[in-house]
Amino acid sequence: MTKVLLTDVDGKVLSVVKGPTGPEHRRLANEVMQRALEQANLQLDLVSYVVATGYGRLNVPFADRRITELTCHARGVYSLFPHVKTAIDIGGQDAKCMKVSHGRVVNFAMNDKCAAGTGRFLEVIAVALGVKVEDMGDISLRSRKKVHVSNLCTVFARQEVVARLSEGEKLEDIVAGLHDAVASRVVGLARTLRIEPDVVLTGGVAKNNGIVRAMQEHLRCEVLVPEDPLITGALGAAILAKDLWQESVARGERAPTELRRLKKATFFT
């Protein structure tokens, strides 16, 4: 998904818009930006500084600066939870664990090599189980006895749970077992760093209350989740944009120097 977040100079959020990314929308960050401007009732030339982040940050031609999602996530999470020490982001195709000190990333570990331990694991298996991924959290909370999923690989785990279902295991117990599998894998990744509270969980998977519960069990501590766990990267990017703009103003520079136009991207990376 492409998220655009606009703030004023004090960091107050003016608008938030989420749009699809997908293969056909990869060039179209400009359209999401346009909607965010409309929502905030702003013209583009009133925007002082634009920071792009995420996998597709190179496909935002109107950005003044591109900053990695790790830096932006950490900054965004820190602005919401000033005591954060460990930030974990579970997205649709990766999982990132960050050690955060005063809003800066001091160490990180990530998995973008394997679908297990990412949102994709749940998406793939939800289809096989015939449930909506957004319903999985509530389904799992009904479970009394979770079914252990022994396969790590998403493809093998999908076969395993379908077999369990045909053996008569309850759907909620299977879904709880799947959440446990994701949590155990992500916490395993986080343990390569030293986990310290406060722990904050973000990313689309953080909307799943079953995952949050499983993460708490595995981490043996409370896991904090922002109200909108999808936008912390964009929020951090906006805060960094504000900081960068203020720094350049303090140096007496006019930023940005180039007139910005809302173009669609002309290249892929």
């Binding site: 293969p23 195709q93 090599k113 394997c114 679908a115 994709r120 694991f121 793939v124 790590l152 690989c153 998403t154 493809v155 093998f156 076969q159 077999a163 045909s166």
Partner: protein
């Protein structure tokens, strides 16, 4: 003359072999499905029908594979690695190693002149190292599994997968299709990715020559070719690569009967 039977219930396919002292008499391959007990019975039924035998007309049966425990009529159960080694030496007495590319795993087994296992390595944690990766992408490309090998051999420019995961690989294949990349280049890319995993597994155990290749993956001519290129050797390919393990089980059944 006695009848020996080997039944290999795999994660995807079940294979049965019926043999006599004179050699292989009949074999049968079918999908394993969800009920392995019924599948094992169906395999036996097919074999005894071909030989015109009664249901209990087989003198000794050895079961192997992931579902071996469900072959209720077996006299004995054995590890699939032992059976694959034994089956390989039965077909290629000179072979000192075999690569088994199966539905849910890949194995490299070093064997001695009697067909006993010297050492082995298994990749079974990840679908990208198994035949399932090929099946998943064949599904995306909407091509028959049987056409996968020949199609991939037509490729001039195999794609390079940026991921080692079958699930992410599936999405990557969809993206490549949308970008207009040809099916043969995608198929060849899949075979190359799998061959690379097989090569590193071979390095783990140390490859001995001559080396054979078996399992459903050996039916994929394109895969066999890139594995050969990657290892820089020529592989022995049996005429029926899927039944090698069942054949080994039948040989074990014969040995079991003569010991008894």
């Amino acid at each position: 003359m006695a009848w020996y039977c080997g039944i290999d219930i795999g994660s995807v396919y079940s294979k049965g072999v019926l043999a006599r002292d004179t050699g292989l008499f009949a074999f049968h391959v079918m999908l394993s499905g969800a009920n392995h007990r019924a599948t094992a019975e169906a395999v036996r039924q097919e074999l005894v029908t071909r030989a015109d035998l009664a249901r209990d007309g087989i003198d000794a049966t050895v079961a192997t594979g992931i579902g071996a425990a469900n072959v209720h009529f077996a006299n004995h159960k054995m590890s699939d690695i032992v059976c694959t080694a034994r089956g390989t030496i039965d077909i290629f007495p000179s072979a000192r190693a075999v690569i088994d590319v199966a539905g849910q795993s890949t194995k490299v087994i070093r064997i001695d002149e009697q067909g006993l296992v010297v050492d082995f390595a298994v990749s079974e944690r990840c679908a990208a190292g198994s035949g399932q990766f090929v099946e998943a992408i064949a599904n995306v490309l909407r091509i028959d599994l049987a056409d996968f090998g020949p199609l991939s051999l037509k490729s001039k420019k195999p794609i390079v997968f940026s991921t080692g995961c079958a699930v992410f690989g599936e999405s990557e294949a969809v993206t490549r299709v949308a970008e207009g990349v040809s099916k043969e280049d995608i198929a060849a890319g899949v075979n190359k990715a799998l061959a690379d995993k097989i090569s590193s597994l071979c390095k783990k155990v140390g490859l001995e020559l001559p080396c054979a290749i078996c399992g459903g993956g050996a039916l994929n001519t394109g895969l066999v070719r890139v594995v050969e290129q990657g290892l820089g050797v020529e592989l022995l390919v049996p005429p029926q690569p899927q039944i090698v393990t069942a054949l080994g089980a039948a040989a074990a059944a014969r040995a079991w009967l003569s010991e008894d």
